[in-house]
Symmetry: C2
Subunit: 337 residues, 2 copies
Amino acid sequence: MENTILLGHGSGGRLTHELIKELFVTHFDNPLLHEQGDSAILPGCNEAMAYTTDSYVVDPIFFPGGNIGKLAICGTVNDLAVSGAQPLYLSAGFIIEEGFPFDDLKKIVITMAGEAQKAGVRIVTGDTKVVNKGQCDKIFINTAGLGFLPEKFRDITSGKRVCAGDRIIINGTIADHGMAVMAVRNFASFTTDIISDCAPLNSLIKSVLDAGIDVKFMRDATRGGLATVLCELAESHNMSVHIYEEAVPINENVRGMCELLGFDPFYVANEGKVVMVVADNDAERALAVIKQNEFGKQAAIIGEINELHNGKAVLNTVVGGSRIIDMLAGEQLPRIC
Amino acid sequence: MENTILLGHGSGGRLTHELIKELFVTHFDNPLLHEQGDSAILPGCNEAMAYTTDSYVVDPIFFPGGNIGKLAICGTVNDLAVSGAQPLYLSAGFIIEEGFPFDDLKKIVITMAGEAQKAGVRIVTGDTKVVNKGQCDKIFINTAGLGFLPEKFRDITSGKRVCAGDRIIINGTIADHGMAVMAVRNFASFTTDIISDCAPLNSLIKSVLDAGIDVKFMRDATRGGLATVLCELAESHNMSVHIYEEAVPINENVRGMCELLGFDPFYVANEGKVVMVVADNDAERALAVIKQNEFGKQAAIIGEINELHNGKAVLNTVVGGSRIIDMLAGEQLPRIC
């Protein structure tokens, strides 16, 4: 193979075929990918399906705790998992800048293959486009994903059964991903100990659902951070969401970096955090199940739904006050995912 | 709404929500899109499914006969249709450059909505990322697509039943899309009469399959042109593909532009052309059915499979010679789709 990606790798001709065969099919290896038709052929199933897509444009493409390929797998797996679905199949679309180092592409592809295996999903179809130098920044990856959704979990996404008294759980510390990326961008010359939380959450979520816990709402807190999920929850059914600030787990080094750079950790992106709403009497058991998972050791009950029905998310601060959590108005952190 | 796309439109916060609600959901309107969870929820079906993805990076984004949004719908619909599947659901992932005119985005989205409706598919899930000015060129769109695939059409993609004596059909003129885009790039100051063939082919393909014609192989000739499809066909089962050059339809103005710019039309991209292989005794009937469709009026039988089994595609030229059709080695036309 060449040392860098050439425009010809996106031509649809000989170089594209070589790239697909020697890199993508080699590493994403599975029977469904082998046919190499225009579409992958998947088995049918009478259950409903969850279907999602995300493009990943993170900068830098390598960061502590992961790279753009890990994000592209975990992000889409998590979007399916929080819908109550079992993630099964992914597509992968690459847009690559001419001259991109082949070794970096290989690292990204190998990471994707490893994460897909860990998450139990198969990459079954893909596409590669190469654009001239300067027409995109290094590499962008789109993954779409498909999973089967058991009937009993169909209303998790809507959150329509959430009611006053329900408790809100998060599976660990917030703002790690955003601050890990920001630290590299701002302080590239020395290393910090902040590591992205990027992780596939489907096994954690499955363990909660398998335990028979009635999850009434579930969403991963990515772009826009925990605050955005809480606002969406409050607005969607005109509920009142109360959060206890002191209960929200934050790593001390992340808190310090947020203060240094002037960010509110509630608005900073996560890539391995899920917010769940369960009935009060399920909350402790759900917490115990989550804590058994490698990605849930620092899980906490961080708030509750109360009876005001005002469509607002409110933070009870550690100093005894309260403030409304609003949705992010502008853009704090472009290209965070 | 703002006049241009801001980084905040990709933040996941308030501006993203507004963009989704006021532009995407408004125009892509359908019940499955309304839930706005992390995944769309699709009904199950016991049939096999075809699943595909493509990213679209065409430059310029508006060209005679279409725009990047039309391509993003038709390209993915066609990838599903040539697999024998009935295209049903699309995802749409947008990567937009900061400062992109909102009116252009709206034009693109409205085009996508219209093409989706014509093709009978629904856009059920999406994603928007905004990158800083200069970090991508205007707009890139990824669509992934899902369709149900009846058991009886499952082996069309592989082409394994193709045998000597079978005939090769194309539904019309070649090289229109590539030359329409090239004409705009090279001669932007005056207009040519070359128009992209970009079109959804699922109704044409359905009419052939519904007529009971045994299609043994089918592929759309996009990047890499007709030549690439013929090479793939020849190589896949070590078959010998013979093409009669004088039978291949080419518009005169396209032929002229190819000569002017030094392109071989066999390698120039199409966006509304399908190559089908059928038994000799089905060929005339297939041709008649195709010609009844609005996108098949200039269809022609352009070649045959013969008994050499050498894995080569050979062109019998109009001057009486023959030459081997090889796969595109480099890149003729970056960002053609």
